[in-house]
Subunit: 346 residues, 2 copies
């Protein structure tokens, strides 16, 4: 089983190796746009669903069955480890994670500790069940320290991150301690997922693109690099992803195997910035999937053309599947990528 | 008066000419963070305020008086011309523009026509009153066709612009007609503002950064260029601004005098991409202004250092003033820029 997975086109592409076909999966493939997802989740909050290994297994498997994607991604959320250590998090439908008491100062550091095996027992149970049923690699994930810190400090999703940036610039010692704690949370969570069977991990720095390159380098990258360095020791490839990160790509590439690229940067431009040592994931605009199929196909072919057959390309959207997406479009998209996305020898 | 204004450091910088000091103004300087603004606007909706030339004059003058900025910007909103032609727009506090009936298809094109002198009589009356009282140039503005189209199609502000992109990709003929109409709306609105006395204009393409470079070039840039070409014939400089537009800067620079840069792209990188023929405006992170003054000063000095004394720099934030901003910080910021921002000869 392990030997088979290591030969999977997804894991080979993570390592920059040639593949028979371009692997494809979709961020947020589990959920939102799938009718079978809404049926299975009916009457269950997201955190209640995450607490039930049987349901997590079903929700994680659904898109693999329907789409034939080359990787599964664990049904979870980046705040699950924070909820597991009792920080006090709710996930409000249509809004996102909301903190009962936002992180306001040094005293709140005591509320943050790395989750242990017992805290994450529901997560690891689901992963062990999943790896017994899957014939494609399972991707685990964690939130990067900056993005988690923004949720903690703002108290929820934020467009401008005002409190976060004020703390980051105004109290660098407290900020450094906060992101260090969150790096430990991410490392413990990813370690537990990999020990249970996750074959790759993605580090989501969803909000990093709101930072100037200087701020990213000084106040976000060091803690993320601690996480990536720990993942390197776990023996699985890492994907490092953010949105609106065109100016940050070179910095985000340090210490990772794969960089996730949103649709704002064409893959050829991303490749030129990153050089040959790192694989890329992306980058079809999720909103393009709402157009008629002929247009989606043209857009997908443009992504493949921009990569020009270079090994080390994992096809994905540039961000998560939008709830309005027709699953039939994603199904055809997987077929198109598999049919037309064969990579050339390097 | 006109001769004096043409010699103003703001207009000289728009044209890339050396100045004794770096000019500075702030997007959204009129409003939100000023206590005198909240007092003057109490009990008045934004559209009611825009309809009263005396109040528009007062709100436009307030930040000039308090901060000593080098340009005034008309108190208005990019949807004002749409409201003026009876499209049916409301501006909801804390949310933004909302359409009574969103743009849904070809029949809705008939609801869009360029505003005439009578439609904009309240706007031009305010401008005439203002230019009699101001001793700095007045900046008029309009929404770029893509950004206005997004509001019309989505029916309000949108994070992912799903309907807009689906229409843009799925019905290019309808989309082309829509943005052409909106270009005519912007041209008529800017023409009226300049005739009444606006000395420069800013074209706001606030949402352009959600587009891939290919989509921007094909579906947004042509209509914006029609607007910029018309402005070139009006004899005033144009500033072309968007957020998250790092990959679009070269395209946005065509046909404009100044490109607005958000904080994600350092000014030296922006200058390198744009070449010497275009001036730049920006680009302090608005959220940085929420930090203690010493940090704000360091950030402002970093912006000036990145420009390295090159002529053709207008200091500004990378986006609008955040409501949480302390006006005293902006006041000190203007002094710092004036004291330390003198440009060298080219």
């Amino acid at each position: 089983m392990v030997a088979t997975l290591a030969d999977s086109c997804f894991l080979r592409a993570c390592h920059g190796l040639p593949t028979d076909t371009t692997p494809v999966w979709f961020m947020r493939q589990a959920g939102r746009s799938l009718p079978e997802y809404h049926r299975a989740r009916a009457g269950t909050t997201l955190l209640e669903a995450v607490a039930r290994p049987d349901l997590v297994t079903e929700l994680t498997l659904q898109p693999v069955r329907r789409y034939g994607v080359d990787a599964a991604v664990l049904f979870s959320d980046i705040v699950v480890p924070l909820e597991a250590i009792g920080f006090g998090v709710d996930i409000v439908a249509g809004l996102g994670p909301v903190m009962e008491r936002p992180f306001a100062g040094r005293a709140d550091l005591d509320r943050l500790r790395p989750p242990d095996g017992e805290d994450l027992a529901h997560v690891t149970a689901a992963i062990r069940q999943l790896v017994g049923e899957l014939d494609v690699p399972l991707i685990g994930f964690a939130g990067a320290p900056f993005t988690l810190a923004s949720y903690l400090v703002e108290g929820g999703p934020s467009r401008h991150h005002p409190r976060t940036k004020a703390m980051m610039l105004g109290d660098t010692a407290l900020w450094g301690d906060l992101v260090d704690r969150l790096a430990e949370v991410a490392i413990a969570s990813l370690g537990a997922q990999v020990s249970a069977g996750a074959a790759a991990v993605q580090l989501f720095d969803s909000w990093a693109g709101c930072l100037s390159p200087d701020h990213y380098r000084r106040h976000a990258a060091p803690a993320s690099r601690r996480v990536l360095a720990a993942v390197a020791g776990m023996g699985v490839p890492a994907i490092h992803f953010g949105v609106g990160t065109g100016e940050l790509l070179e910095d985000m590439a340090i210490g990772t195997d794969v960089v996730g690229i949103d649709w704002r940067v064409p893959l050829d431009a991303a490749r030129a910035r990153l050089g040959a040592g790192v694989a890329v994931q992306g980058n079809l605009d999720p909103a393009a999937c709402l157009a008629p199929w002929e247009m989606v196909a043209a857009e997908a072919r443009a992504v493949l053309a921009a990569n020009a057959g270079r090994p080390g390309h994992i096809f994905n959207l540039g961000h998560g599947v939008l709830p309005e997406t027709d699953p039939a479009i994603l199904e055809r998209l997987v077929h198109l990528v598999h049919d037309e996305g064969r990579s050339a020898e390097p």
